[in-house]
């Protein structure tokens, strides 16, 4: 299983903070995005936003980053701290 978490505006738009995905059909972060986009037209639109960032196990990664069972994958908007 892969744990997926969402933050900030993205979490509110999806009305979802966390979900789980079976690891067998997703090899990369981009694969996960495609799987999530299948959920609805709204999700598809949200995950087509090129500015969305992704992290795997707390490290920022690019879309081609490989994922495996046990990983925590996060999606979130550009950060605005400080």
């Amino acid at each position: 299983m892969i744990k997926i978490v969402f933050f900030a505006a993205l979490r509110e738009q999806l009305d979802c903070a966390e979900l789980s995905l079976s690891a067998d059909k997703a090899k990369t972060v981009n694969d996960i995005k495609l799987l999530l986009s299948d959920k609805s037209a709204q999700w598809q639109q949200i995950f087509s936003n090129a500015s969305l960032l992704a992290a795997v196990n707390h490290d920022m990664v690019a879309g081609d980053h490989l994922v495996k069972s046990g990983d925590e994958v996060a999606f979130f908007p550009p950060v605005t701290g400080g």
Partner: protein, 175 residues
Amino acid sequence: MSKVITTKKRTSKPAILDEYTNQEISIQAEDFSLADEVTLLEKDNLTDGAVVTFTGRVRNNNNGNNVTSLTLEHYPGMTEKSLAKIINQAKKQWQIGRVKVIHRIGELHIGDQIVFVGVTSKHRQDAFSANEFIMDYLKVKAPFWKKEQIVDAGKTSENWLDAKSSDTDKADLWS
């Protein structure tokens, strides 16, 4: 679709929670004391003659809106990990002594302190550069998000702040 097994509001802690006992980083709801932090940076530290601090506070005029308060959200675990990375990068690039980074989370009001970065060094330029570098990278790498509460013509609204391209540009100048 079949691969999406559960969809829920977050209730449990993240499975992967990096443990940072690192005294250099604190993510906290409580306010902090600049004087106490500088005292700790200087305590028993007679070799570092230079101390540079940055303090960021909530302004009342962000983007021309009448901001009354901010809510700071973060990604627990990743926040600490990303700040530790940034501090390590700074230590590789400059000769610095002690470092402290504090970032507050939760609800903050006009004038409240949001963020503190303190750096000591033998050389003032290293202290200045490392401090500014840490702030610049924190702005674009550390997973914090600000939501503004705004009052406009008596009406209250909320909105998530947009990231500024100027912050990305400034961070890129270091690489």
